[in-house]
Symmetry: none
Subunit: 261 residues, 2 copies
DNA sequence: TCTAATCGTGCATAAACATGTAAATTGACT
DNA sequence: AGTCAATTTACATGTTTATGCACGATTAGA
């Protein structure tokens, strides 16, 4: 948190800009433990180099983010990032994490703190690429025949690999959820994989955007007994929330996790 | 803990840089029990050699080893793409291909014809991402603990997965080659993996940019008997070419493969 | 319009910087 | 041993850089 090389700070800002993220001057000031003036000077310098565009309160990237995934472009990414922030707050140092495939889980990777003493396993190629791009977190990749819809391997060899793991905390990727049908996905093999994943994990969490509550998917993974926390957005309708709680799910609203914003 | 050979200090700094660590001048001064001036002199020298980038307060590695791929992409890519074009010309429909990790092999993916009736296996996360992005080629991913330098898995589980394959044609990633030392790489585990890969492959090809002929790497993979074709650039010096042929390698010059250009 | 946050600029301070010089160390040769 | 050249070091010099604070100007939002 506190000290690093003064100028590496500017590189960090530049890297975030390159990812397409927007910069808030005041936030960076507390994050790097310097005055806002210093941050503003960095932003001015970066803007002079054509690396960003200055706006009131911070700066914006000027061109398209490097975007490895088409999913990131969506306006949903801000909402998914908010869910991911809540997920990161639940992680404890030294844990063995599993990040299941899914665009929301992809956001988690970039929000993980810098010197996290953890190990990450995943079956998603995009998530693996993101973890490797960070470079500071040990990574275990689940191999096998790649399912193009899932974006990773969910075949028998992948299941076998997960069977051999003792996962501390897993973040499940979910396609659809309902009080009656429980958690479900589109692919048969994916469902088998996720059931195994849940069985081998001590803590099981799913980040769920509100629209997932009205999706339908054919293959059921499990119900309230198979998952420890559902992290949901603040705008989840009261009906859905009530139904989920009555079905036995443990809901965690965003505002409960991140009181300050 | 004070003194050692004076110049070993510079090697230590260089090693840390190579690991991607950042250097703080003041910290090193107390650690080595010398004045900051001495450390600064080292950093200046290393920066002059292109080993690091100087910043206020210390120095930063210029290319983080965690993303050698994304950094190498684009640079020299024209030469690598020419090699990759030759590689694509050697592929026959219906083959089971293995693309070993390496930036040159990454270029192959984008040059593959559209309706190629083939299956690709790889242990490289970047190559897997590229194949998945295409979306038209079945992909098998080799899992395991990810080696950040290699950019993929080369551990025991990866070796075991390759042992179970009958590969039709494999494109080997090579770090260094010489007539006497044969083919060699920087990582021990990588060498073991590549030896297994060669053993399980019917046709074995390596694409080699000319500068690889003057690199040195500690771990030997094999010699002329272990590889079927070395695809080399046209600008390969006559001495290197002659030495390689005398050592028994089968060389394929670019101009022999792609007469029209 | 008014208010509060943000911005730009100037200035003082402290840290880090490059440069030069002399002392200390090393290694080789007589 | 003794000497010499080359290297490396620490210290002193002046310069550059980054930072925080104070001030007034500008902006966004009510």
């Amino acid at each position: 948190m506190s000290n690093s090389l003064p100028l590496s700070r500017r590189d960090v800002i530049e890297a975030r800009l390159a990812e397409g993220r927007q910069i808030v001057a005041a936030s960076l000031a507390v994050e790097f433990n310097v005055s806002e003036d210093a941050v503003r000077r960095d932003l001015r310098a970066l803007a002079a180099e054509g690396k960003c565009r200055r706006v009131y309160g911070g700066a914006l990237p000027l061109l398209t983010p490097s975007q490895p995934m088409s999913a990131r472009i969506g306006q949903e990414s801000e909402r998914k990032r908010a869910l991911a922030r809540a997920a990161v707050a639940m992680i404890e140092p030294g844990e063995f994490l599993f990040l299941d495939s899914g665009s929301t889980n992809l956001e988690i990777v970039e929000l993980l703190p810098k010197n996290l003493e953890a190990m990450i396993a995943t079956n998603s190629i995009d998530i693996a690429a993101a973890v490797m791009k960070r470079g500071d977190i040990p990574l275990v990749l689940i191999g096998g025949a790649v399912n193009p819809i899932v974006g990773g391997s969910v075949d028998a060899s992948a299941v076998a690999a997960v069977e051999a793991m003792n996962i501390g905390r897993c973040f499940l990727g979910v396609c659809a959820i309902s009080a009656r049908g429980g958690i479900s996905v589109y692919e048969h093999a994916d469902a088998i994989f996720k059931r195994t994943l849940l069985r081998r994990s001590a803590a099981r969490i799913a980040l769920i955007t509100s629209e997932k509550f009205h999706e339908r998917a054919p293959h059921r993974i499990g119900g309230a007994a198979d998952i420890d926390w559902l992290v949901v957005e603040d705008d989840l309708p009261g009906d859905d929330e009530k139904a989920a709680i009555e079905a036995g799910f443990s809901l965690l609203r965003l505002r409960d996790v991140t009181p300050s914003s």
